[in-house]
Amino acid sequence: MGELLRDAWVVARKDLALELRTRVGLISAVVFTALVLTVFNFGRDPTAVGVLDLAPSILWVTFTFAGMLSLNRAFQLELENQALEGLLISPIDRRSLYLGKLAANLVFVGLVEAVGLPLFALFFNVPVWDILAPLAAVIAVATIGFVAVGTLFSALVIRVRFAELMLPVLLLPFLIPPLVGAVQVTSRLFSHRPLSEVEGWLKLLLAYDLVFVSLASLLFPTTVDE
């Protein structure tokens, strides 16, 4: 277990170092997030729809779209110079490889969300400060779920034609449970309702994380096996 996590950390550190040195992916994803938020602003009639009614959907559609675009790069960057073969023959457990990729993706998507949330609060004038802790927790739980599935699927489509299009087509149905749950909890938070009202949704989100992180780390070795 210790070795598994240590190797995973090595893989994650490699990906993050690569990302933080070039920063192209990260900056593009942040700009993309800001642009989607702006587009949403013009996609509604401000006199007809109150911003608080729409806010949870805006937040989550933006986050899932930004997350989905970021996921493509996880294994795409291993295609150059057959880096993936190198990773696969290196003496580490395949599950470490998955967990490392998952961790790097989570940091990446988490950074994008960390910039996206204040922008969202600013653009739509939503007071997030006093509910920041529970909101951050919900964002984390929902993000883990969809990034876990997305990381595996990005390994699945890597050698597939039209990978950029195939990933969303395969992944979107899997985003529904975390997305629906997150929107429900977020909207209760924005209207200052007690969390006990959304107990069912929170359980669902946690169960989703548990099931799909386990399943993905179980099936990842078979997926990349040549």
Partner: protein, 219 residues
């Protein structure tokens, strides 16, 4: 007899049974008091939904077996079951709105079961798109098996998440803790419909499997 002609015979038999479902539904079942004639589509819609679920369940099961045993026949079966499942999903998704329009007053609503079946359809489509996009048979089988297992596990989550919304869909009337609350003639027709659509599922899969096997030997 070749597998292909066996499939064809099963299908002829299934189509004959299907004609019987129409006859029973039109002539031998009472008109439902509140829904009127529209309710008759129920004898096709619910069995089609059953075959769709059966197809998805067997795709998932065959996927697990493929990963355990690496026998390409499981992969071939999963592919055929997904194709047939897509066809039944189309039947379900067209008969549902036809019924919903007069009874609910709307073609579509984001009710639990509707959403679930729509995603079932999207899963089937995604599954086949993935299969079409991978050229190498070994990789194709592996990838689609992984997706099949994921899909199978996704369904309870989608069901739960849409169930937490309020539902408009008629509640279960046959498979529920108490006795079926359906008049005898309706229940018999429905069960007969289930049997018919199961035969059709088997027939379609057998015939499709035979074609896939011939394909594999040729190519």
């Amino acid at each position: 007899m070749t597998l292909r002609s066996k499939g064809r015979w099963i299908n002829w038999f299934g189509l004959l049974l299907l004609a019987g479902v129409y006859v029973r539904a039109i002539a031998f079942t009472p008109v439902e008091a509140s829904q009127g004639g529209a309710q008759k589509i129920f004898y096709l819609h619910v069995p089609a939904a059953w075959s769709t679920m059966l197809a998805m369940g067997l795709v998932g099961l065959a996927s697990i077996l493929y990963l355990l045993m690496k026998d390409e026949r499981f992969d071939r079966f999963a592919a055929c079951s997904a194709e047939v499942g897509t066809a039944f999903a189309c039947v379900m998704l067209t008969t549902g709105p036809l019924w919903a329009r007069p009874v609910w007053g709307t073609w579509w609503t984001w009710d639990a079961r509707l959403t679930l079946t729509l995603f079932l359809f999207f899963l089937f489509v995604g599954y086949q798109l993935l299969r079409g996009a991978v050229a190498e048979p070994g990789a194709r089988a592996r990838y689609s098996a992984v997706l099949g297992i994921f899909g199978l596990l996704l369904l309870p989550f989608i069901h739960l998440s849409v169930y937490l919304f309020r539902t408009l869909h008629p509640q279960p009337i046959v498979l529920k803790p108490s006795a079926p609350s359906l008049p005898g003639a309706m229940l018999v027709t429905l069960l007969y419909g289930f049997a018919t659509f199961t035969v059709l599922y088997v027939g379609f899969v057998v015939q499709r499997y035979a074609i896939a096997t011939e394909d594999a030997h040729v190519g």
